[in-house]
């Protein structure tokens, strides 16, 4: 019984605090200079079109930017000596680099944020009403369905549960209730009455 209310408060608190922390972490991670450059993260890519009997080919090699030209990258050279210049004139070499660490970190952070939101959404829509219904009885839940400003059932629950609770969790619960009311108001004006945002 204690954990139901506390669980939702803790989830809300942890969500509100962890997301700015995650965001700061991401910021720091991404703005770090990539000194530990993986040798796989740079390459010189030369694209050579079909020439005489040779088919088109793509050559890749890990070289530095100043060595990124046809002579260093195209190995083995498919044409004999005098044709090399004509062949290389057609080729286009580009130096590319990427940061695999950034990509990995970004995708993993994004997926974790998405996962957290999904869990919280499942909790809010499915688990919380179910748990509250078991705790406070069916009648009060029905009363609370569509009321906007009326959060009396929850206020009663407050008095019952939180007499000796710490101030912080109290405040988080109030904040969460206020947030839920706001979201419900917004949902009404956007989805139901179509007042804002067509």
């Amino acid at each position: 019984m204690v954990f139901a209310g506390g669980g939702s408060r803790l989830t809300h608190l942890s969500l509100e605090l962890s997301l700015p922390c995650l965001a700061t972490l991401l910021l720091l991670l991404l703005l770090q200079p990539s000194d530990a450059k993986n040798s796989e993260d740079v390459r010189c890519k030369c694209i050579c079109p079909p020439y005489k009997e040779n088919f088109g080919h793509i050559y890749k090699k890990n070289v530095s930017q100043k060595d990124c030209d046809c002579l260093h990258v195209v190995e083995p050279m498919p044409v004999p000596g005098p044709d090399v210049e004509a062949y290389c004139l057609r080729c286009e070499c580009k130096y590319e680099e990427r940061s695999s660490v950034t990509i990995k970190a970004t995708i993993i952070i994004y997926l974790s944020i998405l996962g957290l939101l999904l869990l919280y959404m499942v909790y809010l829509t499915l688990l919380e009403p179910f748990l509250k219904r078991r705790l406070f009885g069916h009648s009060q839940m029905l009363q609370n369905e569509d009321d906007v400003g009326d959060h009396q059932p929850f206020a009663n629950a407050h008095d019952v549960l939180s007499r000796s609770r710490a101030n912080v969790l109290n405040k988080v619960e109030y904040a969460q209730q206020r947030w839920k009311r706001q979201v419900q108001e917004q949902r009404k004006s956007v989805f139901d009455r179509h007042v804002v945002l067509s």
Partner: protein, 760 residues
């Protein structure tokens, strides 16, 4: 919002959890701010700080910090918006490819990244590598054949449905204000309207997350409009750090104007274009100081995005093109034709989209938002998979259409018949006849064009974050490329015709279809949004070539003219009108000859004006007045007989002052007289304590005489950002004109429905 930190003694850390205490100076939700009051409050604050700065070193430092706070806010906005945009781009890249397959060696790589180090890629099949597996390959072990195709098709549609369902659920549960593009609402907010929660923290969290999901699901929408919304949310977030911006709504809107510039800058990689977009499209008041600061913020954001390097080649946008082939005067004819197409398409799109959104607002369709999203995604995915040009993401399509065909391209669109003895360097290939691949690409592109024109109408405005820059550019790019290839082939096969003879010799590189695609994209985007300068600057920042300004301008101007011939409003103004926001457009011209008496309230058959007198109203009367009416403010006159105007008092201030007085002041009862004058006369001891409310009275309300032409009145409202204006005749108060009345009058004069203006 100000909080009283000493309420529970728990310190400032938890203050963000407290309910903000409404004080006199904050506004109610869905109301307009008082620009003049905010500006004068800011001047007062600044004067106080400057005068105190001479007193001590600490005050001097505080005044320096106050001056620099604007730049600090801009820096933070740029950093956060750039980071969010970079994360967005990387995640979209990965998730779009997730619909087709997965990289087994490292699941976080998209298709291109997966094959980055592989040596198996060939010239013809640039994306082949053993580490990337399509779903059919993973599930049944086949890569080609009917069953593999069907399985891939099925899984593509399933992934698309999963992404969009997740997006609409997240929006519905956490942040309903994260739907839509955001630009119409931001335009209204910047003109002085308050929508609480629209730029809130949950919107800031949910909008980028769901934006990635919807773009990856293959729906016909873009990310530019939502990025402007996200950037403004960042701006709002950092405004709350400094009381200079958090307590003053006018200063906050300066920061939000700059944040809007940052949004476009990171979406397109166009800092200057972003600043001009904010100036032209989004902002209402744009002082020069904001110009410099928005430019700074846009540069910081562009630099942050570049350091994240989402596209692996230090470019900010996927379709940065670098060719410099010249264009010829005779090509202006097809460019102008593309402009006409863009204008026509813009008109069609706006009318169809507004009709569909109106249907969504008023009929049963609006009751099933989640079902609508799922249905549109299903239709889009099912129709998009067979055509290779619609199967890939729209950004990649636009990028391919913008690119010129050198000898190094192997796509179907570049399947020209090459001369095997040709020895020209890479970017000076002369015009070549089209091979069969080009013709099949042409009809596939035509089908893609029809599909995109049709489906975008139903996609924009759904209850998910949706922008329309990229779909418009895609429509225009497809049309432009088709026209470009047609002109190119005509020039090649009929080089002896009189038009081509002068400028197109055989063996020369005359026509660049990629340029036509760019011009088409600019024309369609201009036709829909009616942007002018900002569009041209964004397009040439995308291409990096100053040579193409004239064709871009020609197309943009033509499309704007053609579209304006059918209707004066762009898509954003149309949505503002559809929602009834109180937005007084600076571009509208009011040319009717009505006078202030024709618009003012009360009209002939209405109850008389609700006024307060300066020294004869009791508290009871005021409370009754507040309860019976819902006006936002009341004029205060000398007496009911003389009706000479003293000032204007706001409803909210009255309510708060009376509530305060009843709670805190001794002796204030219902019979107490309310005094709005300076010197309260001596009262006998038996009469109740008077209530002095002079300090909430605005002593300088704006007044016009009854014979002022409405043209002037509208101009005053627009330039000063007024909410109401009093009408007098020979010094006596006659009536009041509010912004809502002005908007209704303008709608009436333009033969639109005046009852559609909903908010104050």
């Amino acid at each position: 919002m100000s909080t009283t930190g000493e309420m529970n003694g728990s310190g400032n850390l938890m203050d963000f959890l407290d309910e903000p205490v409404p004080d006199s100076g904050t506004y109610e939700d869905f109301h307009t701010i008082d620009w003049l009051r905010e500006k004068s409050r800011d001047t007062d604050r600044h004067r106080k700080i400057t005068s105190k700065s001479r007193e001590s070193i600490w005050d001097f430092i505080k005044s320096l910090l106050d001056a620099w706070s604007g730049w600090v806010v801009m820096l933070f906005i740029g950093l956060l918006a750039g980071t969010i945009a970079g994360v967005n781009d990387l995640a979209v890249d990965w998730m779009t490819d997730l619909k087709e397959g997965v990289c087994l060696s490292a699941f976080w790589y998209s298709h291109e990244q997966c094959c980055w180090t592989s040596n198996e890629t060939t010239f013809d099949n640039r994306d082949k590598c053993p580490q990337w597996h399509t779903w059919s390959e993973l599930m049944i072990g086949l890569t080609d054949g009917g069953s593999a195709y069907v399985l891939n098709y099925f899984l593509y549609v399933m992934w698309a449905l999963a992404f969009s369902f997740l997006a609409v659920s997240l929006v519905r549960v956490f942040a309903p204000y994260a739907c839509g593009s955001g630009i119409p609402e931001i335009k209204t907010i910047l003109s002085g309207f308050i929508i609480r929660g629209y730029l809130g923290k949950w919107t800031l969290l949910i909008k980028p997350v769901t934006l990635v999901l919807v773009v990856s699901s293959g729906l016909s929408l873009g990310k530019e409009g939502p990025m402007v919304h996200v950037a403004c949310c960042c701006g709002n977030l950092f405004c709350s750090l400094f009381s200079k911006y958090s307590k003053n709504e006018a200063k906050r809107r300066e920061v939000l104007s700059a944040a809007a510039a940052v949004g476009v800058s990171v979406a397109f990689g166009a800092p200057i274009g972003g600043v001009l977009f904010s100036l032209e499209e989004v902002s209402y008041y744009f002082p020069l100081k904001t110009l410099w600061r928005s430019f700074f913020a846009a540069l910081v954001a562009a630099f942050t995005l570049r350091s994240i390097n989402p596209f692996g080649n230090s470019r900010l946008v996927l379709f940065y093109v670098e060719y410099h082939t010249p264009w010829y005067m005779a090509e202006l004819i097809p460019f102008i034709l593309l402009g006409v197409f863009g204008g026509l398409w813009g008109t069609l799109f706006i009318r169809a989209n507004i009709a569909w959104c109106r249907r969504r607002k008023t009929t049963q369709l609006g009751k099933y938002p989640v079902l609508e999203v799922i249905a549109v995604t299903a239709i889009t995915a099912i129709l998009a998979f067979p055509n290779p040009y619609t199967r890939r993401s729209t950004s990649k399509l636009v990028s391919e259409l913008f690119n010129d065909c050198g000898s190094l391209e192997s796509s179907q669109l570049c399947d020209y018949i090459n001369d095997p003895n040709m020895t020209r360097p890479v970017d000076d290939i002369p015009d070549r006849p089209a091979g069969p691949g080009v013709y099949s690409a042409l009809w596939q592109l035509a089908l893609a064009l029809i599909f995109k024109i049709f489906i975008t109408i139903f996609t924009f405005g759904m209850k998910i974050p949706s922008g329309l820059f990229i779909p418009s550019m895609a429509v225009g790019a497809i049309a432009g490329r088709i026209v470009g290839i047609a002109v190119e082939q005509m020039a090649y096969h009929h080089h002896d015709w009189i038009i081509f003879r002068n400028w197109c010799r055989p063996g020369a590189d005359c026509v660049t279809p990629g340029l036509y695609a760019m011009v088409g994209a600019a024309a369609c985007l201009g036709g829909v949004t009616r942007m002018t300068v900002s569009l041209v600057v964004i397009m040439f920042e995308l291409t990096g070539g100053l040579e193409y300004i004239v064709p871009l301008m020609a197309a943009a101007v033509t499309s704007k003219w053609v579209a304006d011939a059918f209707g004066k409003e762009g898509i954003y103004e149309s949505h503002i009108k559809l929602n009834g926001y109180p937005f007084l457009d600076v571009k509208d011209e009011f040319t009717h000859r009505t006078l202030a008496t024709d618009v003012m309230r009360p009209r002939r058959n209405e109850p008389p004006l609700a006024i307060l007198t300066q020294d004869s109203t009791t508290v009871e009367d005021v409370e009754a007045l507040i309860k019976d009416t819902d006006y936002n403010g009341f004029p205060v006159v000398v007496s009911r007989e003389s009706e000479r105007l003293i000032g204007f008092v706001q409803r909210r201030d009255l309510i708060l002052a009376i509530k305060n007085a009843r709670q805190k002041q001794e002796g204030v009862v219902s019979n107490s007289v309310v005094y709005f004058i300076e010197d309260v006369p001596q009262l006998p001891a038996s009469s109740p304590q008077p209530l002095k409310l002079r300090r909430i009275l605005n002593l300088s309300p704006f007044t016009v005489t009854d014979h002022t032409p409405m043209e002037t009145v509208v101009d005053i409202f627009r330039k000063l950002g007024l909410r109401q204006c009093l009408v007098t005749r020979s010094g006596r108060l006659l009536g009041i004109i509010t912004k809502k009345d002005v908007l209704r009058h303008m709608a009436q004069m333009a033969n639109q429905d005046p009852e559609s203006i909903m908010f104050n």
